[in-house]
Subunit: 217 residues, 6 copies
């Protein structure tokens, strides 16, 4: 009964940000990103370095709690090259994650990102799972002032086990870590993955597949 809902929700995740150990190195002091409507490169185009100002390296408001009024009870505020243009070529970014009581940042993975997380408030049960074939789960209960590392590309989660809000700040090893939220990709892709594939993957009939997809429509 709740099973379809469970599937809807199982991966309805808010992504935490990450950063990868191998962004290409800078070839000048900095290369402040600018958007070009017609042309793109690996990373970002840059503005004339003579025009750089402090605001190109600045972001405000990371002290403001994100809105956790959602199904999983967590929210991620990202501070990467999209928010601080000056991060372009510099291989790092940050996030703030807020958790309502019993809020969860559900299992997800990331293409370009190791995360190092610090608990500012609250108590979190966190973990990551190693790749095949072992799939070892490595977990820890974290309290205020605790730091934990999630290696690049591995599935991980954080769960607020307390009845108070929790807050973390995490450093990430890329200017644009990227996030792969499993359920969005599997059930909510645009266009949807064909019923033939998901029915085979789920070993269910297409009605169930269509129901699952509907939750993400």
């Amino acid at each position: 009964m709740g099973a379809p809902f469970l599937i809807v929700t199982i991966f309805l995740t808010l992504a935490s940000s990450f950063a990868f150990a191998s962004d290409p190195s800078p070839l000048q002091d900095f290369c402040v990103a600018v958007n070009n409507p017609k042309l793109f490169v690996n990373g970002k185009f840059c503005q004339d370095p003579k025009l750089a100002t402090a605001d190109d390296f600045f972001f405000k408001g990371l002290n403001i709690a994100g809105n956790t009024s959602n199904k999983v009870g967590s929210n991620v505020t990202t501070v990467n090259v999209a928010q601080i243009a000056g991060l372009n070529t510099l291989g790092i970014s940050l996030v703030r994650i807020d958790y309502a009581p019993y809020g969860l940042n559900p299992p997800h993975t990331h293409p370009r990102a190791t995360e190092i997380l610090t608990v500012l408030e609250g108590t979190l049960y966190v973990g990551f799972v190693t790749s095949n074939p072992d799939n070892r789960l490595i977990t820890k209960v974290l309290n205020k002032g605790d730091v934990f590392v999630f290696p690049v590309g591995l599935i991980h989660f954080q769960f607020n086990t307390g009845d108070t809000n929790a807050v973390v700040i995490a450093g990430l090893s890329s200017q644009n870590p990227g996030v792969i939220t499993i359920a969005n990709a599997v059930f909510g892709s645009k266009p949807p993955i064909s019923d033939d594939v998901l029915a085979k993957a789920l070993q269910v009939d297409k009605k169930v597949v269509d129901y699952l997809k509907a939750q993400f429509g």
Copy 2:
């Protein structure tokens, strides 16, 4: 009803291999891997280059079909640094993937891997999904002689839509791409993810969680 089964099966995937664009570069002609029981490094220790022989760069049997008698009807044969010690430091590997009729290599992702796949036999419906927030699905039906690319870290799949076996060979951009099979990590980790977390993630009671975990016991 079938829903728990579906969740058991949803991610029961056999991994394809991959390779990443940024393995560190070699600092000598080659550095044939050797295992050291007591000590490890990033990558592998190497043997004395004077001892290198052709067999250090050789693997046989990629013409032999893998056994696809399993729930998803596909099988991956990997040829990475674990099979060819000479691949150490060289940033590439291969796989052969076999598909029974209607066999599927279900959605999965990889921490260190772009894949470029060539269809040797059969017809495959393949696709990958972009990262958040767009989660665009990009798909193609591939026939013999077609080549397709799965960018590093993105969730992707291959499905044999024909009533004959299918076979592919794929090149991968790392000596040790790694595979993250979602279901194994989420439902089959050792030890299991706590019922508190998964019940919250699935928005179901712990009975359903325990049932799901049982399928991977």
Copy 3:
């Protein structure tokens, strides 16, 4: 007598493709290459990611044998960023190599490329030579299903020792491996290397040099 001919032919090579372990890493999911007539970057400019389609990651026809009616009796079909724009930033590519009976892919080297080769049909005698001062030759006779690795930058060759056609597929560790065909560079460069240099290099008089150059005119 045949000596000048031999020199003409000695390096008349068809290149196999390759890929190098250290292409810069991607900073987004993908960055599909587009050509810009006026401006260039390291690698390629990219199109708007919103415009990406499956065809940007697709190539067809790798099942079609290349034409081996040439002096060395081999042919390379390349599948790199020039054929699949979606390979840009992803650090890998492929080739198919066809060999007529007794066809040879003669000694050559590559600036950005390790190659991992799989024999689909036929029997090949393959080898590579280590760099100075050892110049060790490492060889193997390969049959259907055998895999062999040629480390980046080392001179290597493949020779069809059978009286049937041979076919291989090889994975390569760069989006644009590059090929250095020795004879084309030494005798067929445009403009030619000066007679003074080649006469000294070959320790012959300029008539021989001019004759050699003529074979590549």
Copy 4:
């Protein structure tokens, strides 16, 4: 008069930590550092991955203020591969910096590090200076919740302009960023830089040089 003192103090800095955009990439999920008394590699040796536990990825106490009772009134608590062995190969680290009222983290630079800093409490006047020949100073006054970036290798500082304590957490793009505290290197090196060099550099007689060195004895 105070001039010699000024020189003593001018660069007496407590280092903030940093991280660089180009640590080599990991070749496995993780590679938890272990020390080897006799042998070293670029980075660290690793323990058997089978032995990894949550504590290898964990650090506690970042909520505890550092002792700022020193000449500059600031203190850096580092969380890099020396504190979290699991950071080895993962290209990122963290620091907490505490500032007494009017405390200063004086001008310094770093060999392998971009820093992204978040103000948790207090008001800081921060800045960095571009490299030769422009030597542009880029500064900002930061309040609670503000984020600022210091590009790798550039001289930078943070000054607590308020009459309350200030606290920041910063993410850094290397497992071992390194710190170059100018005064310690110039006046406090072991053994000292020769009087001949420093007298020439400072255009003073050796008495002044010896006085300066004495402050770091």
Copy 5:
């Protein structure tokens, strides 16, 4: 008395060039830099490779002594991507450094650079200092034909201890190593670092700070 002068001069340095171990790798044979008045990238845009000429890889005049008539008695002639456009993407550059008798290339550091220096003429006392906490000074007296290495990012100097001119050529591991001349950054930045910060850093009153800044006005 001379103290303020000493501070003016202490870091008035002419930079030596450097090179870093991790410029991103080339993705084609070469990518000759061209300037674009409106747009920038990490590194440089390139011209059409078809237009490349020998002059794009050429620089003349490194046999000409630089003018050492300055306060420190040394001069650096740089040959990096700004002088040889063809160096773009190739990860290396050169410098010539001239020293008057008793001339000094004072302590400085660099963001993207290891330097390997060869003495062509004269006698130099050279050294570098390791990072915190050891700050070990490693020095050597170099004569004609001696070679010495300054690791990336570490503070180093060269001092002509002879009564004749000295000359070196140094190879550098980046196309654009960058130089951080400490005094220019600390006392001569544009705009200046605030008196509040420097007075605190120097533990002197603002009159001294203003005097120091004046030397760089």
Copy 6:
């Protein structure tokens, strides 16, 4: 007649050194190489950094001309990680090349190396050839004080066109650039390339092949 000799000599080259743009980055100040008789890594093991001395970063004698009494009249003195242990992890090296009057450093290529060369004495005709398919020759006559760049992996040469000795110093973008001397690899490998392959490659009978190999025996 002289033809076989010419082939013997055609590639009998003394290698110049080189350096590549993408050695992995250092993870500490330095990592002075030590040899381990039993175990190897990518690059070199290091000694305890506490034991580092100036001699680990030092090489003497680059002012001494190499012996050019050989068939090509040139000689290369290498200064890479094999000569200066301190270069390990630092991504750069040097060479001195001496040329007798009309001496030649014949066409050769390199797996991990861009070279930037400075003429100290003499006049050289230098060139490199681009990769397939263009094989453009780019040449320049260099005099004292001229600098020229040879991009990584491309075939290049230097020829002393004067009747006096010539000397160059070149910077190279790897700690261990490697050299591929074509003739040594093709005709002098140990064991030799099979007569079947070379007879086919040279389109000559095995007597000629055996003769050529004999010149390198």
